[in-house]
Every structure is written in structure tokens, then in C-alpha cells.
């Protein structure tokens, strides 16, 4: 959640809603906000989140996520990408939306 918030704020998207839904097999986090144009690095951001999930890495490096100070930039999105099963990023009708899903069991 922290990484997504940082992305929204760093793109000056300050009017947004967050939604977290827990299901039997996993949980979904959705953020959507209003902005006049799509974030310039939207494709790069999507590329990082689209990295396939790698369960061998997440237990060791998950401590690097959610820290108060963001250093790694795209590295954190890359790490986030390795920990999720699905990501949908869209910009439509001046609404930028990110939805990620993570299963509990790999």
C-alpha cells in the first residue's frame, strides 16, 4: 500500500480513494484517483509491477517494502511486482487506477 501511495503522491495525484478487500484465497488493493493526464512513467511503473511473482525472494526482501523513506524508486515497484499475482493499471476518463492482487498461498 505504501509504495502505491508514494507513486500516486509523486505524480501529484492527491485526490484518490483506496480500497482493500480480503477474500478466501488472497486480497486485493485498489487505488484510484483523478488526474488530468496519465502519469508520464506509467509504462515503466506497469513494467515493474508486471514482473512475475517470485516466492523465493519475498520472504527475505519484504522488509524493504513499506519503509518510511523511499529510496529505491522503481526497485520497490519491482519488488512489489515479485510479490503479487495480478496487476491492472489503467487511465481512463481522467481516472488513474491501480489494482493489485496477492494470493495467500503460492
Amino acid at each position: 500500500m505504501n509504495e502505491l501511495l508514494v507513486y500516486f503522491l509523486s505524480n501529484d495525484i492527491v485526490d484518490f480513494q483506496a480500497n482493500v478487500q480480503f477474500h478466501n484465497n488472497g486480497f486485493r488493493v485498489e487505488l484510484q484517483g483523478n488526474c488530468s493526464k496519465a502519469p508520464a512513467d506509467m509504462n515503466e511503473f506497469a513494467k515493474m509491477l508486471r514482473i512475475p511473482r517470485n516466492p523465493n525472494m519475498e520472504d527475505y526482501y519484504d522488509e524493504l517494502l513499506g519503509t518510511s523513506k523511499s529510496h529505491a524508486g522503481s526497485r520497490e515497484y519491482h519488488l512489489l511486482g515479485m510479490m503479487i499475482d495480478d496487476a491492472q493499471i489503467s487511465y481512463e476518463d481522467f481516472v488513474f487506477k491501480v489494482s493489485i492482487y496477492r494470493r495467500f498461498e503460492v
Binding site: K37, A38, M42, N43, A46, L49, R50, I51, P52, N54, P55, N56, M57, E58, D59, Y60, Y61, D62, E63, L64, T67, K69, H71, A72, R75, H78, L79, G81, M82, D85, D86, A87, Q88, I89, S90, Y91, E92, D93, F94, V106
Partner: protein
């Protein structure tokens, strides 16, 4: 299924808008180079073993292996000196192959971090790690995985890097005053315990340096080894730190490293469709944890980067008048490995410069440059500082590392092989908040 839509449509108020939808779905998979990469590293292990057997085809090879297994192995114990040239290579080949087999059995996907871990195991098998003293750490991690009911593969990285603490086992078994059977049993029990606590600790300590020291397990292990050494000292054990360094095999070891680096370069170039595609992206990367060049920039470009870094480190050693002893071979192999996981020429050179600068402005005796070269090569653990904050910060990090590294060995009595990783953790933890503050003031 992945879907990307880019379209321009007329908005109802008469404005033009862009509609872009990008999906990532579960069926997206990694490029299929796993079998090739497993075979490539297996070939490397076989070559190591062949070098060992061919260079010492006699009973001396077995005797050398026995001396390696029964050595206390704490820093600095050069296996070229303790065993022999052949037995050190055979030891490295066996342990690296065993580690690779473990990953293969556990179906672990090889990527940048895993390559770094395997080359680190291979490198440190020239001065401290062997199959005898590494097994308890692997067992301990396995028990931890069972306790938390997660697959072992999730902790394989911590297990491989965690064998940095293998001298604790060897020292208790063969370096303390205990009789061998009792020493081996106690050593193994301590090793298993260390393996059990290492995964949660190493993950937790990441926050200490915020991902700016690549040898994170080195820092964690330094803390554990410091406690182990303190307990031993409490009970009257004096830990001797040897300085066994062999210089007589420098030419042969240098040829091996050169051949390996050139082979990595050539294989990478071929795998990369005879191009340098991806190298620009690697050089532009800050290298902050977690930077997996294999996943981000491709296997070919990663192998090229590993080859380039290997040649650079060899040139650096020769330039400073060093010899390719076991520890220096280990250091070069470790840097080659971490060139799949954060290190590249642009973020590593400032660290080397900082370490050398510190050595030459101080009254340090550089006539025997082993310490200087090891500090510089392993100091590339701080490469992310140069990559993220700039060249000057990188030089400062190298300088600070050189000042600190020689003072921390006493704390753990050489029981942590990644002594430089221990030092780098402190340097990164001190520098990162300061550099952040400077940036904040500037902004």
C-alpha cells in the same frame, strides 16, 4: 492474459483523452533460460573440480581436503595454504555443486540474487567454507522453514549466504580446546541453531542499512558472530585470528579468473544475440537492493556485466601489486557474482577509489596489499551508495569502509567470513540518513 490498449478518443466535452489499460495476469512467466543457466553453473562447478583433480592428481589431494575440513577456518585461512591449490579448487567445486543441486531439488528459480549467492559460496570456498562446516547452516535453515511451514526455497538465499558463519562450526570443532567428537557435536548444534535464527534476522536487518549494503547477510552474520565470539571469550576461550595466505599460486589462479571472466563475456555476448543490449540499463541502475539484472535486463547482458567486472577486478589487483591468493580469488568471484545483483563498473569504481585513497593518505603499510585489496573488492557491497547518491558519496563510502573494516574483525574474531559486509552495513547505516538529510536540505 496481458492486454495493453492505447487509444485516443474524443471526450464528450470536446477534449481529447488517452485511454491506456495494462494488465498483468498469472500466466505471464519468466523467460525460459533456467535449464541453460543451471547447466552453465554446473559446468563451472565441474571445471573447478577438474582443475583441482588435474593439478594435484595424487593422495595429496585427499590429504589437502582433510586439512581443509579440519581447519578452524576463521579469517584469514587461505585454503591454498592449508590444503593445496588442487584441494582448494576441488573444495570450491564440490560445495558450489552441492549448493546448486540443493536449489535444483527445491525447484528454485535462478536469478541475479541466486547467481550472486552461488558465486559467493564458490569464492569463499577458497578461504573458509567447506561442505563440513556449511551443512549445519543449511540444516538449521531447513528446520526453520519447517517450523514456519513455508517452503525451503523461500529461504534458500539466506541459507547460501548464511554459510558465512561456517567458521563458528569449524572453530568449535577444531580450534577450541574441546576434544574432536564433542567439538563436532557442539559445533553442529550451534551451526543448526544459527541456521534457524538467520532467516528472520537477515530479513529484519535489511532496514538497518535500507538496502544500501549488498552483503546484507554479512552484516547480520557479523552481529551473530560477535555474540558467539563474546560468549566464547566469556568462557575463557581466546580466539586466534590467523593470517594464512598463499602467494605461490598467483599465476595459475590469475589465469583461471581471466579465463572465467572472458568466458562469461563471450557466453553473454552470444546469449545476447551478439549485442550489448541491456548494458546501458545496467550501467544506469543505482544497484540498490533488490536489483536483479537477470530479470530486468536479461541473462546475456548480465553475463557480459559479470565478465567486465571480473576483468576490472583482476586489473585492479594487478595494478596494486597484489597476488591471487585464496582470499583474493574469493573476493573477485564474489564481485563477479554480485555483478548479477547490483554491481557494475559505474557504481563500483568510486568505492575502489575511496578505499585506495584512504589507504594512501593514512600511515597504513601498503607493502602487503592483501588487506587493502580485499577491503576494496568487498567494499563494492556499498556500490548502491555511489549509484544512488553519486560518485563523491561513493568515494566517501569507500573511505569510511576502509577506516572501519580493520576495526571490526576483533568483534567477531574472524568467525564471520563476510567481515567487509559487516563493516559495510555500519557505513551504509551511518551515511544513508545523512545523505538523505543533505538532499532534503538541498530541495
Amino acid at each position: 492474459m496481458e492486454k495493453t490498449i492505447n487509444s485516443t478518443a474524443k471526450h464528450r466535452k470536446g477534449e481529447f483523452m488517452t485511454r491506456r489499460i495494462i494488465h498483468k495476469t498469472k500466466d505471464q512467466s519468466y523467460p525460459d533460460f533456467q535449464a541453460f543457466l543451471y547447466r552453465l553453473i554446473a559446468a563451472y562447478c565441474i571445471i573447478l573440480m577438474l582443475i583441482g583433480i588435474v593439478s594435484d592428481p595424487s593422495i595429496d589431494l585427499i590429504k589437502g581436503m582433510f586439512r581443509i575440513f579440519t581447519s578452524p577456518s576463521n579469517l584469514i585461512t587461505d585454503y591454498f595454504e592449508v590444503g593445496s591449490f588442487g584441494s582448494a579448487f576441488l573444495n570450491s567445486g564440490i560445495l558450489t555443486m552441492a549448493s546448486l543441486l540443493l536449489l535444483w531439488i527445491k525447484k528454485v528459480r535462478l536469478n541475479g540474487p541466486m547467481i550472486a549467492a552461488l558465486f559467493t559460496v564458490s569464492g569463499f570456498s577458497f578461504f573458509g567454507k567447506d561442505i563440513f562446516n556449511s551443512v549445519p547452516i543449511f540444516l538449521g535453515v531447513s528446520i526453520y522453514a519447517r517450523l514456519v511451514r513455508k517452503p525451503y526455497s523461500q529461504f534458500s538465499l539466506a541459507a547460501l549466504f548464511g554459510s558465512t558463519l561456517s567458521p563458528v562450526i569449524s572453530y568449535i570443532a577444531f580450534g577450541s580446546n574441546l576434544p574432536w567428537p564433542a567439538g563436532i557435536i557442539i559445533g553442529y548444534l550451534v551451526g543448526i541453531f544459527i541456521g534457524m535464527i538467520l532467516p528472520p534476522l537477515s530479513s529484519s536487518f535489511l532496514q538497518f542499512h535500507r538496502g544500501f549494503s549488498l552483503y546484507n547477510v554479512g552484516f547480520t552474520s557479523g552481529i551473530i558472530a560477535m555474540m558467539a565470539a563474546s560468549i566464547m571469550r566469556l568462557f575463557g576461550e581466546e580466539i586466534d585470528t590467523p593470517r594464512l595466505i598463499a602467494r605461490q599460486y598467483s599465476t595459475e589462479a590469475g589465469i583461471f579468473l581471466c579465463s572465467l571472466s572472458i568466458a562469461l563475456l563471450l557466453v553473454g555476448f552470444v546469449v545476447n544475440n551478439r549485442s550489448l543490449k541491456g548494458m546501458k540499463s545496467i550501467i544506469a541502475s543505482p544497484g540498490v537492493l533488490v536489483t536483479d539484472f537477470v530479470t530486468e535486463d536479461g541473462l546475456g547482458a548480465t553475463l557480459i556485466n559479470m565478465g567486465i567486472m571480473g576483468l576490472l577486478m583482476i586489473a585492479f589487483v594487478i595494478l596494486l601489486g597484489g597476488t591471487f591468493s585464496g582470499p583474493i580469488v574469493g573476493a573477485v568471484l564474489t564481485v563477479i557474482g554480485f555483478s548479477a545483483f547490483g554491481c557494475h563498473i559505474k557504481n563500483s569504481l568510486p568505492i575502489l577509489a575511496g578505499v585506495v585513497f584512504a589507504a594512501f593518505v593514512s600511515p597504513m603499510d601498503t607493502s602487503d596489499p592483501v588487506t587493502l585489496i580485499m577491503s576494496a573488492l568487498f567494499g563494492t557491497s556499498l556500490a548502491p551508495i555511489a549509484g544512488y547518491y553519486g560518485i563523491l558519496s561513493g568515494i566517501a563510502a569507500g573511505f569510511l569502509h576502509m577506516t572501519l573494516v580493520s576495526n571490526v574483525t576483533y568483534l567477531h574474531g574472524g568467525l564471520n567470513l563476510y567481515n567487509n559486509g559487516f563493516s559495510c552495513g555500519f557505513v551504509a547505516a551511518c551515511m544513508v540518513p545523512f545523505l538523505d538529510m543533505m538532499i532534503d536540505i538541498k530541495e
